[in-house]
Subunit: 350 residues, 4 copies
């Protein structure tokens, strides 16, 4: 077994930061060496600084790590960023300039013309954009690789096999998103007891734009968007974890629900070939029961790394419609960047 | 003040039955004379028979009414039916044959070719179908008038002014429906704590088919469906009352969100002209705030009789998209039939 | 009808502030003349400044009032304070020194030896303490009158008739408190989806201490605590409004559940005699059903101004046990101070 | 590794039955050989018959077992019963008469004078009562061993070390119980959205009576109740799993909170000595944080087999008060009987 590579986690006490800690504790290739947070936490033991909300208590191996301040130098070669959008952009660019390999969940660089917006099952070749990124930004070793928005990831994992097999021209998506997507403290309980909120700022635009980039191509040193148009309606619902999405698709050519189910079920890609440690054996799971997937039952399938599809049926308006569910802070956030880093590791890009 | 007309309520102890009782207690034109229920309740005082769930206790005026058994003769000329689908059809037809004017919330007769599926603001002229109904069924005085499914009503109230002004060719709808839509006991709490259910049996078909009938025409003794196609995705969410729906529409001709908002806001129809007692002053309320409507805040606008629209904006795939919310057991069920009966009363059709 | 007296509401955009606005809009004796809030809101129309969460929109009569900054002079003679504990104390004392009659929901002055901690049904005679208050503090016209903590009020309303009739020596109380008790944004939804929190900072101490003061006496220019000992366990539960409390009491002399129910049911006091506008006709309502009171069904009885008791039964350890429920932001906060002000008005103490 | 003993599970498709299946799948000593259920399920594959609600799908090893009808003969020597109270009694007695070793979660035989109401950490010596049971009932090999009510178990696990160290004379308990305690479908969602229910039929009596039996003695062929008196208030709250209880205790002799914490923390008993497979390493876990335990964070500690205590502090009325939480369908039901069977196995009583 090779020595594990040291990694730092930015915003390690927050909601997504805690997921990074949980997923990287005991990781076969990476070792949590540095936990970075804000003024309030810096200088404390992680177990004292964090309001751990994922289980009874944080993993043993990080409990005694002393939290670093964001302005202290980082010595790990790999950085996972759970920084909030708006703040993340500048910090991440600075770290990349210093030579760090930055894998980020933040939105700031996602749509940059030289930043891969990566889902290893979907567009692993976009990873090559980091060469342009380094060249154009004058970075020698560092780079930034972003994972998509939590709703986008699960949507695109379900779209990809269909897109490849039948083409997709248009789609309409409505999300029912979990509270954890807004972090902690996040959504006030008075907004979600006996209530749903039909609005999540910026979310619809992200789903619509990111999907086109991810399903698009990297060629001749530039990204070209996929020629499909999406419309998203985003809602917050009283669920802890697990974003659900209803999807209606217009296909490039006709396909029966059974054919769609087949391509989803048989979908395997680079992470499965490479047997990456965090890769689900099956990226898209198809359930047969009428009333599935459901967040509380299905969000943890494949340790939260799969997208779960159900209710595949003809759409009277377009061609096919279905429901997709996925864990929003595992595969939809921290797990997504961990898988990105694993892909880079095995592809020799670290 | 004229004497009030006696009415009977079928399935008066159930969830929708309780709403009928609540809305008809103290009604200016109708007087609750008979409450009808099943074996378990028959013969008891209503206050003893009912597990009243709408407030602290049932209205004073019905507390001491003795519940009748469904097989006892009914003497009121008007019957409101909250019977469950499947059971309702036969009972209602029998009562109509006996001369009763039946206003029903049940699904059984909704799609019959001679039964008006009525929303007084939308298709009041469909009421004329009762002439054919009487003729073809050999009924002399009785008839059956149905109100649509709870999700359909609020959707169609929002579609109608748009349909008239700009045309609608296609639409995709996702619902987030309240628990009360399934009655009591209805949905188990283990299905809705930290969970949503992406399936409601029969609901999608109802929305898709009923909308076409209601927006269609009654001419030459037959209903003709409106030439629009809808696709519905139905979900149950942990909300007590208030169905929310996201809607994307392809219009017959282009219209800006502002134009759409205008036709919704200025929509007035027959119930408003006639000043029916249960009619909302404004059938469709348009909210400006980004994050509205919300069930807990907006379901009771206009005493639960309005549909509340928000987030009107361009749709990248079709033309316009928005959110509509409405109270599912008031305007979406019992209140719908009460308004139907009020229309018949004022139009001299009783 | 006499002219209405102008009143100011401090922290008028917050959760309790909104309740003050709701309860005072259209009040027969008081007129909302000034709404006061912090930097963020000052200078805006109230309808623009407030994130109104009690219904679809704020009352018509206050929508256009321009919110004042807390440092601007107040001209109304009566001030209702919804200021947060910690901040409230100094501001309220300053206003009283300027001659304002301050009715506060804040905790800061509640246990002061010269401040009435007033529940008009329970200790109206404590109002006389304002004479000492003025004398000892050198205030000429102003004063401070506090209402108790939200859990204390409903507990003490239920204890008072029992205390008077049978004596109470000891009691153990467990609360199940609603989210609105923590204001807005208050409790994060991730803390209350599929969860309860067995801790509310400072709450247990307040219940234990305030009850003794309120049930105690004002004589010879000092408060004397009632000689009863309480132990409180406080919990937050996923409910919007309505605090529920289980109570076990050791009585001074034996009493059957029926006797306890009788004294609760027949309890009437000064606000009922005076027919104060916000007074419940019956301060304590006793329900017979096994499974009542319940927050969603019973919190709005008497417009949220009553305490609702159920399940009165023998206690194997002490003498009697029961459940009490009450609306925590109506009778438990804003409504409590409004009733205090009404008592002062009718008693000629303004 | 010895061959595993075949076991049957009665009411295997229900809520507690599913937990038995989950906990016994892959058990080192027991092998699920028979799954028994009612008419509706009998004859079907378990995976088809069950509405599995504990995770995405039932364990592989039971999916293809064909469900037996309750009237078919059972051939396994050990029977775990998840039958509902009322039905269970007769069936279990019949099976014991046939020679089966019955470990039951049902209430029917719990208070029988010859049936051990067993918690292996608390009263393992009560197991000896089965000798009397066999003698008095004329059973040769079979017997019935019951586990206590779900709230009782966690309460008594926390009481036991305190009782032994300091004595307990009286106690008052309020429960906040999870929805899963009522099975599936169980509590309607309309009862638990924005609501709590202050009543669970029969629960208070069970807690009060069972605790005395369990903490009591088995001597001279009879059970003698422990001389302590409890008063219980039971409530249902919107939580999936995990019963929480607030507890105030009068002790036989004074003890500081720190002393109480010490005896709880250092509590180890027979299952820990014997290293029973399902035994928690630590039966009672003590948390230091102010706001713990919480159901969503702490119910799964020790795989749901521990009781978790927090907020140990002086009680102004009695001596000490605290909160205890435990998983109600694991340690509080199926897990309790599994542990009972493991004790019998290792003690050579099977």
């Amino acid at each position: 077994m090779p020595e594990r590579i040291d990694v730092a986690i930015l915003a390690a006490t927050g909601s997504v930061g805690q997921r990074f800690v949980q997923l990287l504790a005991g990781h076969p290739w990476f070792r949590i060496a540095e936990l970075v947070a804000s003024d309030r936490s810096a200088g404390k033991r992680y177990a004292d600084a964090v309001n751990w909300r994922l289980s009874a208590s944080p993993p043993e191996e990080v409990r005694d790590l002393v939290v670093k301040h964001i302005e202290q130098p980082i010595r790990s070669p790999i950085v996972f960023s759970a920084l909030p959008g708006g703040v993340a952009g500048e910090v991440e660019a600075m770290l990349a300039a210093e030579g760090k390999k930055v894998f980020t969940n933040a939105r700031d660089h996602r749509m940059d013309p030289d930043v891969p917006l990566l889902i290893p099952e979907v567009n692993p070749d976009h990873a090559r954009a980091i060469e342009l990124q380094r060249r154009s930004r004058g970075w020698r070793e560092g780079f930034i690789v972003a994972n998509p928005n939590c709703s986008t990831i699960h949507l695109v994992l379900a779209l990809k096999p269909i897109y490849d097999a039948f083409g997709i021209t248009r789609g309409i998506v409505t999300t029912l998103q979990a509270a954890s997507g807004a972090g902690y403290p996040g959504v006030p309980s008075l907004d979600l007891i006996d209530n749903v909120i039909p609005f999540i700022g910026g979310e619809e635009e992200k789903i619509e734009a990111e999907s086109r980039k991810i399903l698009g191509t990297w060629a001749d040193g530039r990204f070209e968007d996929a020629p499909l148009t999406l419309s998203a309606h985003c809602n917050r619902v009283p669920v802890r974890d697990g974003h659900m999405e209803t999807v209606s698709l217009e296909l490039g050519r006709r396909a029966s629900p059974a054919e769609v189910a087949d391509v989803l079920r048989s979908f395997r890609a680079r992470p499965q070939e490479l047997e990456l440690p965090s890769a689900p054996r099956q990226p898209v799971i198809v359930l047969e029961q009428d009333d599935r997937p459901q967040p509380v039952l299905d969000r943890d399938l494949e340790h939260g790394m799969a997208s779960v599809v159900g209710r595949i049926r003809p759409c009277p308006v377009f061609d096919v419609r279905f429901v997709v569910l996925g864990h929003n802070t595992v595969r939809g956030a921290a797990g997504a960047s961990v898988l990105n880093a694993e892909l880079f590791y095995r592809e020799g890009l670290l």
